[in-house]
Amino acid sequence: MISRIHSHYLQRLPLIVAGIAALCLSACDQAQPVTYQIPKEQRADAMPTMAAATTPETSAPSKMNVLPGMQQAANEAGEVDFITPEGWKKLAASGIRKANLKVTADTGSAEITILTFPGDVGGRLANINRWRGQVGLEAATDEDLPAFTTAYDISGHRGLYVRLEGETQSILGALLPFHGSTWFVKMLGDTPTVLANEASMKLFLDSIQIEDHAH
């Protein structure tokens, strides 16, 4: 026996079912492209790519520009000693930076960093071209290299000194293959400041001692 109250519900039943069905269907809507505006974002400094970038195995793609394994590799790499040249300010080493220094002058400022990664990190040319990109220079080929690179000894091992003069920014740096990893020493900053500190940079490079277990 269905009372009047129940028949009222009975009429509502199809409506309820339809309502729920509509809800389900709405979930199947295809998303559309959108355009929106956000506050200005700084693009972080490009870091060297891994020789074969693989699927990052982290559940948290962190904002830090460090691939998993990079930090650990940096920690496991040897310690580095150096002499801070006159007028350079030594800052705290952090993350994968084994050393971090700064020099400021009227003409501008420059930052000096030492980093190390396992492997050849994409190879000599790729890294140099990355640096070239950072100071606004066109990519170079292997044939072009002798124009701005020379062999240079660092910590008792043969490396490569790189001199890149850009319009506003310049880089003086060195690449050092070292027992299975590569060390990068780079001064990047305003061109006048960088070029004025070339002598100091060379002194700095000469003073670098990397912990060496292989010899």
């Binding site: 492209p33 490009a46 060297p48 020789a51 074969a52 699927t55 982290t58 793609p61 520009n65 994409g122």
Partner: protein, 393 residues
């Protein structure tokens, strides 16, 4: 019509549906061992039909590999149970004091089922990593990707054109809103190995003529999609950018080609856009600054006993600024979103929040309240009846 209603309202149907639910949940739990929680939820509990396959890891797989067991899926069973419950109330139950308890329990149950459906449909979960001393104004999805073209020409703001990954079907074109560009997808791989070309790898022929693929000789080897909990699929695509003046080039984009690589720029005359494929972002009108993250461990061990993040939320409308402490079991509810302390990284210098938008979050609490009261009433009545019987016996 009446016979149909009787069928839908019958108690036998209830028992059958409940038994089928148990079977579904059992096989769904077994399936999670193979395909992880997220995928199994989609296959078994958010579907009308689920099919269980005999797992490779079990004995006699070589003889039973063909075994497939189909069963009604979560939505079908949930829907039927809902209909069964409502029909039963309409036909059999009369609203009386004696049945009040059962009414409340069942209404609470209906509400719970509906709230779970709403959660499936409406809720959005994403994560927000913030470094100590820094702040973040966006969160990113765990699995969903987007193709974005970022226009940084304006001095005061960036314009982001976002295209959902679902629209990147090979051969299809999508117009980029509010821009002269159109994207044509050449190919799309949900998961792949990205690297420099090496002998022995079996990469896909690269159609790219611009960007990282060319400059760094990066090639793509498609791989199977992974459903493991802590792994991200490297969504990858070759896309061609078209303009009114013709093709601007073909780029390789992937969610692993991120800030660490030089930007891939699309240029048309004086305009330029950075093209990136990344985990989908949700930007907010506020920024969460991580003032301090602390990670306490039990003394003498590495076992964590509390993580807490002190945050300062700065809204563009400064009256809505808020300071908060987010820690385990103590989230921040702000602007319709809830921020939970999920995890941390980088040696305790980065805190990672789980951000959940679920407009229906209050429903389970309401349903629980109804069910609780209903149970107290119903079982209370039973218990007193039982005591009275024993007393007179």
């Amino acid at each position: 019509m009446k016979a149909l209603l009787q069928f839908f309202a019958s108690l036998r149907l209830t028992v059958v549906l409940l038994s089928l639910s148990m079977v579904l949940i059992f096989f769904g739990t077994l399936a999670q061992v193979e395909t992880g929680i997220w995928k199994t939820q989609k296959d078994y509990f958010e579907s009308a039909l689920a099919i269980w396959a005999y797992p490779e890891a079990w004995i006699a797989y070589d003889k039973l590999y063909w075994l497939r067991i189909p069963m009604p899926g979560g939505y079908l069973l949930g829907g039927m149970l809902l209909i069964n419950l409502v029909a039963a109330h309409v036909t059999r139950f009369t609203l009386s004091a004696k049945k009040a308890g059962i009414f409340l329990i069942h209404i609470g149950l209906i509400l719970l089922l509906i709230s779970e459906l709403l959660t499936d449909v409406l809720s959005e979960e994403s994560q927000m990593p913030v470094d100590e001393g820094a702040s973040s104004n966006y969160s990113q999805e765990y699995r969903d990707n987007e193709l974005v073209l970022i226009d940084r020409m304006h001095a005061d703001f960036d314009t982001v054109h976002s295209i959902p990954i679902a629209l990147l079907k090979p051969g299809r074109t999508v117009a980029v809103p509010e821009s002269p560009l159109t994207i044509r997808t050449v190919s799309y791989y949900p998961n792949a190995q990205i690297g420099r070309s090496q002998e022995g790898a079996a990469p896909v022929e690269s159609p790219a003529n611009q960007g990282v693929a060319v400059k760094m000789n990066v090639v793509v080897t498609p791989t199977a999609v992974t459903y493991a909990e802590n792994q991200i699929n490297t969504a990858t695509a070759y896309v061609e950018v078209l303009s009114p003046e013709g093709s601007l080039g073909i780029w390789l984009v992937s969610n692993v080609i991120d800030d660490r690589f030089p930007p891939q720029m699309v240029t048309l005359g004086e305009q330029s856009w950075e093209i990136v494929l990344r985990l989908k972002r949700h930007y907010y009108p506020f920024a969460v600054e991580l003032v301090d993250f602390s990670h306490e461990k039990y003394p003498g061990t590495e076992i964590p006993f509390n993580y807490s993040s002190e945050v300062m939320v700065r809204h563009s409308d400064t009256t809505k600024n808020q300071k908060a402490l987010i820690y385990m079991n103590h989230p921040l509810r702000y602007e319709g979103l809830t921020f939970y302390q999920a995890s941390f990284a980088n040696d305790d210098r980065t805190s990672i929040f789980q951000v959940v938008r679920n407009p229906g979050w209050i429903l389970p609490y309401v349903s629980v309240l109804l069910m609780g009261v209903g149970m107290l009433v119903q079982f209370g009545m039973h218990f007193f009846k039982f005591l009275k019987k024993r007393a007179t016996a």
